[in-house]
Amino acid sequence: MLPMVFKPALVFSRLALVALFFSLFTSSAHALAPPQPPPDPLPCQNPIVPDEEILTHHWMANDNREPPPQVHKQTITVIGPAGPINVSEPIEFTVDFSKLGALFGPTNSDYNEGEYQEKDHKNANISELEPVDISKYNGPGQKAGNQVMLDALRVKYVDYIWRNSHLPEASDEFTNTNGDNPRRIYDMRNDFGEQLPDLDPNTSNPTPPSYGGNKNDWQNTWGQYWNKIPTTYDEFYKAYIVFREESNSNGGHIDKVLNGQYCPDWLDEKITFVIPKYFRTTTTSGQLNQLIVPKVAQSHNSNDLILKNKDADFLEDQKVSRGVLGKIIDTCLKAFKNNPVSNSLRKVIGYIYDFLPTLNPSQTVYAQSNQTLPSSDPDSCMRILIDGKEGQDAYCAFNPSLQDDDIEYTCTNKIDQYKLDSNNENVICTFKIKWEPKHNPMTIPEVGNKPDDFDSCTPIPGTVLYRCQVEVSIWPIFKIPWTTEIWNNTLFSDVKESEPFIGSDEFQQFGRPGVYSWFTPNVIFKDEESDATIKLLRDMLSACDNAIEESGIDPNDSSALYGLEKCQELVDFAQDAGGDGPYGDFNTCLFQGGILGPFSYSDYVDCANQFLTNTIKELERKKPGKSDLNVEKDVNIRFIGGTDCSKEYVWHNALYPIAAQKTYGIQNACPVESASARDTRIPPGTNPPDTFPPTDDNCDGRYSLANPIGNFGDPNCDFISIENFAREVDRVDPVNFDRWMCLASYESTYSPNAWLTGDPSEAYYSPDPAGAWGLFQMGRGRNGEFDHGDVEWHLQLFNAVNYNGLLGGDFVDDSGTSYWERINDGTC
């Protein structure tokens, strides 16, 4: 028996958890639920449009970033006279939608929820089950959660199914605990007083006993069915197949993509399809985390995405908001490399790959291909290495009415038990998309001139025609909602383990999730209040501040600080903080420019504030579902909880004896691994452009060089045109192309050597005392490493794009303020 003093705390804790569950669903008042039509399931119709934030891009490519061989470095041949020529090459490929549905599916959600969606489960006679069978009947969620928690979820479930009669499960029947009297949710509501359950015993609606409802009343009505009610529903979402392309024009572009230097260009083609089960998988995994993970270890954010995406107003905002559109996840090539999500998906897509052998460009008037039909050598295909995701799950056939644009296709039917829209005959579909170069028309040069748009051009004897060739690669990309979120919530191993103990290859049940948050490294859940790095510096500042106040010295008197012990500690700390340590940036800020001090107290405060702001942003970014822009080795990632690492951390630290940990050299630290993609424009892993020192060269009079350091922006004199700059912007950050062009127009009128003084005595001056420099009129480091316009123009662009990346890719910080005034005033 607990002492009385603990009971209020328990009640409060319970209420807090219940409140948390509500965030899984949109809330709605249903005490007076309006009449509803009988269930009329319309599976696969009216799918929810996912906002870009929940879409994860899964590239169809191997570890070398090469797309399938049929579309990799294929030579396109064009014949025509010198001059511009429109090039368009049709490409056909086939998708078996009955396989696509299995990417993620009931495997995970049914495991989490104990197969509550299965017909047998809904009709089982559970009154006669032995305890061991009851245990099997319930999923992890039902076993782990107490009745209060489960009741709250089921009340929401019933409400949602009642209000959404088009969902397939609205017509599902449940038998009572004895396996008798099958009823739909619709029937239960009609038969049990035409009211839906709620959690308030003071209303006339039925209320589960755990919330104070009358036990007898409950058992005679909803209670007969209650333990069979699932805790979450299924929803249908749109997913997409899109394409990126790169041709070798100007030489080596495809290889640059393979090296991670370029992100290939989008093709203007999109195929929309519908996926079931993902939402349910996401919610069940999220519920499971919340049910059994201590609250202090739970993600604050992971289920926010679900909430947002269920809100119509929010969705509408997504459509119209420039800011959100600016967040289009411009996934680059990290997504398919070394992460469990993309690895497993790639294997599944590899399965589909068997159905994708026909890429067959046909001749056009001026364009033709010498491409031979690809071989179907299975060894060259991406293969599924493990089981667990093979086979079929529930799926939706291809629905032409969901396509934004006309798309050419032919489909054949396939009849099986998994097809949800059983009247739809478009199951195996062949699509015809069109490859066009980004800059169409291409140009065939006169004889003797080097082609810009083609790899080679040779005249055809006796004619005015040329035969030009260019290599093309196309990357199919599957934009799938929720995958990151699901992986935020679950652990899953598809790699072989080398150690024969719990969690090893023999132990792991592939295809089943674990619960990552149990042992997720602390770093993920660090916050401003508890972070030791932040606290230490704040404490030191505070101690020095108090000492100044007590002593009455002038805080701007830098040398006086040395006389105060607490301030001397701060001074010593700052001096010793250089290098790669956690306070390196604080030290760098203080001693930038080689100034050795002494510094005033306000200098310390300024640098500390800058450091703390960045540190806090960093912490926030590391929460699940957020992008971490600053991880050194993987610049462009969406943090998903370090799944495999987390698992190993558990095994090693929780299950290994200390002696074994020492023997194996096991550390407690879990390096932050991550997967999927982030909202970025710079391809991940891309090194900054080379740096070049300023020169005195005015590039044939192009620049006045009216600045203190000379030609800093174009020392190689290769900023030859606005077009040249525009192409670079389009390559580096095509999503924000218009905004960068607008900013450079206003800030510098496209002059990489533009300079504005920071001297306030001048009539026209920059707010940054170091002045405003270059194309985007940035500073000299006042706001961090990317706040540098005083560099060569490629680096100016790189810095600006990365600076915006730090802001979240939306040009404004958390307070809605931009670094650039032209964003603030709405001009750009």
Binding site: A726, D738, T749
Partner: protein
């Protein structure tokens, strides 16, 4: 007319004379400040750098004139299509953003702007069509400092 009568009308003549002078002075000064292509109607809403796809939405006739303007190319530098050039300004078409830029190099900047607009209008465009063509004006950076309120949009356009 008797002298008395004439004297009686002197104040009236004086007032009329003053009024005429005021009107004349006003019209002279106001016309000198007004560009010849001053747009009198409702300003056309546009963006500084409109999305590239907006050009596809232009009327066919405008597109046709647009094509003729680009065909009037006199030079090409690094992909910039040079259409007109003199000491005070140059007009160029930039293919990737699909936009016409007028770079102004000398004072008086407003005269150059008017002149450039006239150059476009001579192809048969209406003033408002310059907003969506789109035409934009750039001042050399040093001129920008002395003309901080310079409007980069053609007359008759607004953001």
């Amino acid at each position: 007319m008797r002298l008395d009568n004439i004297k009686r009308f002197i104040p009236v003549f004086a007032i009329l004379f003053v009024l005429i002078i005021i009107v004349l002075i006003y019209s002279i000064f106001s016309s000198s400040n007004k560009p010849s292509t001053e747009f009198q109607g409702e300003p056309v809403k546009t963006k500084t750098i409109p999305p590239r796809e907006d050009v596809q939405k232009l009327p066919q006739e405008t597109k046709s004139i647009r094509g003729k303007i680009i065909e009037s190319q006199i030079d090409e530098i690094g992909g910039d299509i040079i259409l007109y050039k003199d000491d005070s300004m140059d007009i160029k078409y930039i293919p990737t953003p699909d936009i016409f830029f007028v770079s102004i190099h000398k004072e008086p900047v407003n005269e150059a702007k008017i002149k450039a607009q006239g150059w476009f209008l001579n192809f048969g465009l209406e003033q408002t069509e310059l907003c969506t063509l789109p035409v934009r004006f750039l001042l050399d950076f040093e001129l920008k400092k002395t003309n901080p309120n310079f409007n980069p949009l053609p007359s008759g356009c607004s953001l």
